[in-house]
Amino acid sequence: MGHRSRGAVVTRVILAAHSLWLLLSRPDLPRLADFPPEILQTIPYSLKVRTLFLFGPSVEMLLYGGALIVMMLLLVGRAPDWMVLAAGVLMMHFGALEEILAGMPHSYFGGFTIPALAFPVLYAGRLKEKWAVVAIRGLVISSYFFAGVAKLIYSGPRWFSADTLYGWLVVRHSYADAPLALWLSEQTMLLWGAVLVIGVIELGSPVLLFRPSLGSVFVLVAMSAHVVIRYAMGIFFPGVLLALLLVDWDSFGHRRSKTEKGPADVPESADQKRRKPDGLSTELCHGQFNGTLSP
């Protein structure tokens, strides 16, 4: 059905590259199954079933090796489509292993969440349809947006004050490698600026669904913020590469096509127009979608 959108290809490559990088950075994941039984028996059986942590070390090692192969094949575009669905299940499984001992309190931070959900979406979109690219972009946006919502839920609007960041910097300095923490904690104006940026990035992120062209600016600001957070709070976001999914790669391709006077400029024939059964479904599936998830 239809041609492959540039955005779909780039989305697959970014997801596979991130997942491969993350898996190679977690070489001990299969080893958890080899932990002493006294430790493993503290994990509830229902949680083991939920995360498919049911196998011995040999099977886990096979699964891990399989996951690496799947990601490499996905990266170069040689994976059969069913492997894309399998990739989501594997990322769900391995992502859980980092936190399963403590009952998954902060599973989002591991960097596995978005691939675990995005690969099945990509599969549903046959690895080429624009609606799936937009939905995956929505997943990344939701990770920023709901982070802002959580701040409102737990702390209310008062979270967005320099005082809050001051508290975080002082506390985090006591726990982690955060060389900028104490210096930054004394720069009140910078803290207010940072709070403003956090508020705009997180609570304003849904704007990208309607204005995908702002994605590049958003990514630059968000990645800069992640770098500052690393040195100021000692927190590294393993999923930082996934912010690249917010760049509007289809428009980038479209602009290039126009410059090169390529196929994108060829007017549609009357016959082609007649054959479209439903304008929306054509937009959803063929890459002319404007970025919103509603008609």
Binding site: E98, A135, G167
Partner: protein
């Protein structure tokens, strides 16, 4: 109950994915709409109720307002050599379990009696990691990729100094402190006093 709900949700999500892919051209648009509403509805539910249904997870970085004047605590693992000397443990020896998770687990997730019994297996894991480091092998996230690896999200210290002699004990300390007062001088606080929470039995 949470585990059942999370399992069901993810299974439905996977089935939905297959269903959308196989839907006929007449029903495809409806299938896509239902699938997308399901996906974001589930995420909205978990984030508005703050019930984690991994992989439909909560996005909660730094959601609280910390009070730097309120006493807090830091958990620290140390190993003991045959001469009774303590040194901080490189927590990558417990990889893939992150340091933060290990701290929760050893303090909160098991009964006090179990925790004492569990210290010996932890010491064995620590010595396994020590042996690898002594052989000049990398451990933890850096094992395959070295410095190019993605670190654990909560950054902890890594210690290059390695003993070739097995460690004979493992202790878990809790240091209580007021962040504003000791923020930059936590080492001094450790010297002043810390509580021993767990340790391996003699000979364990």
């Amino acid at each position: 109950m949470i585990d059942l709900a999370a399992t069901t949700l993810f299974l439905l999500f996977l089935l939905g994915s297959v269903g959308v892919r196989r839907a006929s051209s007449e029903t495809r648009l409806l299938a896509i709409r239902i699938f997308v509403i399901f996906l974001f509805g589930a995420l909205a539910f978990t984030n508005l109720t703050q019930i984690d249904l991994w992989p439909f997870t909560r996005f909660i970085p730094a959601s609280f307002r910390p009070n730097p004047d309120r006493e807090t605590s830091k958990i620290e693992f140390v190993v003991v050599d045959s001469k009774g000397r303590e040194r901080p443990l490189d927590m990558r020896v417990f990889s893939p379990v992150t340091p933060w998770v290990m701290e929760i687990w050893v303090v909160e997730k098991t009964s006090i009696r179990d925790q004492d019994a569990l210290m010996s297996p932890l010491l064995a894991l620590a010595n396994e990691g020590r042996e690898r480091l002594a052989r000049d092998e990398s451990i933890g996230p850096q094992r395959f990729l070295g410095d190019a690896a993605i670190p654990f999200w909560l950054l902890h210290g890594e210690f290059e100094e390695v003993s070739s002699e097995p460690w004979v004990g493992l202790r878990v300390y809790e240091t209580r402190f007021i962040p504003r007062e000791y923020g930059g001088r936590l080492e001094q606080r450790k010297i002043e006093g810390r509580n021993l929470l767990r340790e391996t039995k003699r000979g364990g």
